[in-house]
């Protein structure tokens, strides 16, 4: 009984919200733009899945629009992570470099990446690289800033300890700086998951010939609202999965951090 009720504790409100949505759209406000949940779910199945085992039960639409988007997110995010972590730590431990780049980073984070879409098109053309570039640029800032703060926030005693042990630079980076800054870095990477999703959609609204953003625009132009919402639902599911994967990774990789802070979860 307990085992059944415990998950219910977590999900009942979500179920209520969806039921209210269904009822409202079926009765009181038959909005042209917001279809009932049941219709979205039906379209969701029809749009993204197919009865063909050879394509892993994924529809043609899924393969042409969703897979490219996921690929772009993965590539952009990976580039941002590597550049952000290395750059941030470097700027964090080398004070003059940090000061040198500080105004540029502040400005960079504040410029809406969307504004650079035209520049990206000119530089990269209508290619995957263009989307990847925009995603990477948008995700870079939170990771960079957090890695910077993380590296600067490493306890002075730890730094001294490492120095007194005469660790090599490489070992110092790998065994002290990187793990020491990792809670902050992971926090930044987590924020960037959301940013990556935002920019995936935005960068595909124009100048793309595939992808979820492209699909959304197309459905909007054709006034296909159930399809539009089923794409939004898919994006939400991808976001939830990405967040869950992240939380799991964080729980295992940063166990020392949470435990050291005396957190229960």
């Amino acid at each position: 009984m307990r085992r059944v009720l415990r998950p219910l504790q977590w999900v009942w409100l979500l179920v209520v919200v969806l039921l209210v949505w269904e009822l409202l759209t079926r009765t009181v406000t038959r909005s042209l733009f917001v279809p009932p949940v049941s219709e979205i779910l039906r379209t969701f199945g029809d749009s993204w899945f197919a009865a063909t085992p050879s394509t892993l039960f994924l529809s043609e639409e899924f393969r042409t629009n969703v897979l490219p988007s996921i690929g772009r997110i993965a590539a952009g995010y990976a580039i941002a992570s590597v550049a952000g972590i290395c750059g941030g730590i470097l700027l964090g431990v080398w004070r003059p470099a940090g000061a040198f780049f500080n105004p540029l980073i502040r400005l960079g984070m504040s410029v809406p990446v969307t504004a650079l879409l035209p520049l990206a098109i000119v530089v990269f053309g209508i290619t995957n690289s263009m989307n990847v570039f925009l995603i990477a640029l948008g995700c870079l800032w939170p990771i960079l800033i957090n890695a910077y703060d993380g590296a600067r926030g490493i306890d002075g005693t730890m730094t001294l300890t490492a120095r007194s042990m005469q660790l090599s630079r490489r070992r110092y980076f790998l065994n002290v700086l990187l793990p020491g800054a990792s809670p902050a870095i992971v926090a930044g990477m987590r924020v960037s998951v959301g940013t990556a999703m935002v920019l995936m959609v935005v960068s595909e609204l124009y100048a793309a010939t595939s992808g979820l953003g492209y699909y959304l625009t197309q459905q909007q132009r054709l006034f296909r609202f159930p399809q539009l919402w089923s794409a939004i639902l898919l994006i939400a599911l991808i976001g939830i999965l990405a967040n869950a994967a992240f939380a799991a990774l964080e729980r295992s990789a940063l166990r020392w951090h949470h435990a050291a802070r005396g957190e229960s979860r």
């Binding site: 306890d155 005693t157 730890m158 001294l160 300890t161 120095r163 007194s164 042990m165 005469q166 660790l167 090599s168 070992r171 065994n175 002290v176 793990p179 020491g180 990792s182 020392w256 951090h257 435990a259 050291a260």
Partner: protein, 279 residues
Amino acid sequence: MTATIGGEKSMTSAVLEVAGLGKSYRSRAGDVPAVRSITFDVRPGEFVSVVGPSGCGKTTLMMCIAGLLPLTTGAVTFRGTPLDRPRDGVAVVFQDYSRSLFPWLTVAKNVALPLKDRKVPREQVRSRVAHALEMVGLGHAADLHPWQLSGGMQQRVAIARGLVVEPEVLIMDEPFASVDAQTRTSLEDLLLRIWAETGTTVLFVTHDIDEAVYLSDRVVVLSQGPSVVVADIAIGLERPRDQVATKQTALFGELRGEVYGLVMASEKRTSLAGHTDQG
């Protein structure tokens, strides 16, 4: 009981010689002297404690001696060569175990870290780490993480990390200040046992006058900062020492009173007067 005021220099067989050590910190307002001029030396195998009023420069002194801070004046020599950067024969144990152990590494890996860049064969690393952990009574905790241990155990890991390099000099800056009174008692006795076993020279900073007297061969008393040596007191208590018996002796009480008097006298303001730091 022998007290040589001013810490006069003695034998040349010293493992560590601190001669006229002075250190100023640079700040916006100008140079701030933390240590004026400190001279003393430590003979091989000796257990020397340094006490002094808060903020008098004890930590600064230890950092200079460990080669972690450049000196402003004077010199520190370790077996005759100047100590201007961290050296192999010198290990440091810091006060705050929670900040000097790396929480992302297991106990064994924390202890193994100082051996890592020294081309010690892997097999030997393993045995030395095991031995160091055995010495501090933590053989069973090798695969745990620091945050799975109590404070006293963590500090023992830090001591094991100091010992694993088999240092000639072990510098300890208030190592037991963050553990509770009962644990401290155990750690003191543990330290004395290891010191006797290994013959390591120990240079020990503490706030606790009982602790300094209980542990040491000599207690160096510093003045209010910028500090100089006020007294260098030989502690003639018998060894091995015992938490109850030793502390019940008249000599212990006298030495304790003497050091207490010196520290209090050198402290211009009592700590209750208090200064604040705004912003």
